[in-house]
Amino acid sequence: MISVRHLDVSFGNVRAVSDVSFTVAAGDIFGLVGESGCGKSTLLRVLSGLNPHWTGSIEIAGRAIGPMRDKAFYRQVQMVFQDPFGSLHPRHTVDRTLAEPIAIHGLDNAEARIARALDDVGLGPRFRFRYPHQLSGGQRQRVAIARALILEPSILLLDEPTSALDVSIQAEVLNLLARLRTARDLTLILVSHNLAVVAHLCNRLAVMQGGAIVEEMTVDALRHGEPSHPYSRELLRASLGYHRAAGTS
């Protein structure tokens, strides 16, 4: 479904992503784990089309894509952002936010599509005419997911979709994403610094450090054996809580 070969991204003299290659099969949930500045978000922005400055090759559904994307691409690939407070227009109601993609692509049945999108993310019609400031963080993130899905994409890119949320809300959003993936037959790429979240939701993952993928494995392999790369091991240990030895290294 998605195939990335020898991807390089530079900002000035700084190489944010260097020689990254991976493939994601249709229906996969692929996780990218790493700490801030490791290039995982940059990689996602390249895939989504937000960052046009890259070299290498990207294929989506068998079609090579360049830095500039057409409308058909955006109907196929959508993205959910990290910060639920920053990803919704503060002056637009939920209704307006969801109507925008429909208007851009000239789709019919706007009313029914909006109602269905809200139902799908568990919000219902009560929330339709609220402004973002009348919603909680979890509700905003649901709206953002509804906005991404209203164009019925086959690929959903998730940039730390739950890291700004409380644990209990995170569980709800993770459940929602898992359910939507099955119902809509989506291919997901999840970027997160939280190994536990990635391990929970994904079936394959790649660990990134300094702009490169240091290790790629299935979640089953992660569960059954220690990861081979020392950095992956460190991330795994840190995800379990404070560890005296980890700090002294």
């Binding site: 089309g49 057409d70 952002f81 920053g86 990803s87 227009h89 005419f129 609220r130 402004y131 009348q134």
Partner: protein
Amino acid sequence: MSRAAILRAWLVADTPTSRRQARLGRLYLQWLSFRGNWLAVAGLAVSLVLIIVAIAAPLLATHDPAAQNLDIRLRPPDAAHWFGTDELGRDIYSRIVYGTRITLGMVVAVVILVAPFGLVVGCAAGYIGGWFDRIVMRFTDIFMAFPRLILALAFVAALGPGIENGVIAIALTAWPAYARLSRAETLAIRNSDFIAAVRLQGASTGRLIFGHVAPLCLSSVIARVTLDMSGIILTAAGLGFLGLGATPPSPEWGAMISTGRRFILEQWWVATMPGIAIFVASLGFNLLGDGLRDVLDPKQT
């Protein structure tokens, strides 16, 4: 429940059921926060009174503003002439009432010329960036480098005195401020996720600027325009005072002060009454602008 209470509950409802209710509810909450600032409410009252006076000038005036009567020249305020008469025996009250039309007319003309232009130019420059941004910003630098009144003087001196030329001169120096303001706002929001999200839906640049960026800049431009109105009133009056704005015999406040200045010691009311009018009008818009800025600040929810 009384009708007012029902209406209020409908406006502040947590779950609006229609677009209109959502929008009106938002306006109502803004009004509530505006109402809490009594200075702003006073400013709003003054501005509304000015607008009403301008519209209803023929009804409110007690005399013909241009009618001369040399027998009663320079009379102090009394029952017949509330603000006294000037050196040609014209009723100062009626002249000030009609002068409201000229002043507000100039203000409205400048704002209509300047605000939309500055907003669009600034948003486009900020959003598109690159060489377009650089060129536009250097243009604003050029126009901002001119002192407003001096440029207006030069302009009027070249094209001849008159309200229209005064308006054009003020407009030429006023637009860069709006362009810069909208550009700064745009720069702050262009990299936000909600703009990125709309880009990822395939929205065109025009749609982004007009549908998503400009509306967010609009509120600060409105607040700034209202604040600027007092400055425009003062510049217009200044041009009138120097004999470069409205030409006699039109009852422009600045021109009235200018003629009244010869009698300022013996017949104080001739210059003082239009002076008070200028003061009240510019203060009113200033207070209103301050209040609007607080209410419309996009950084608040």
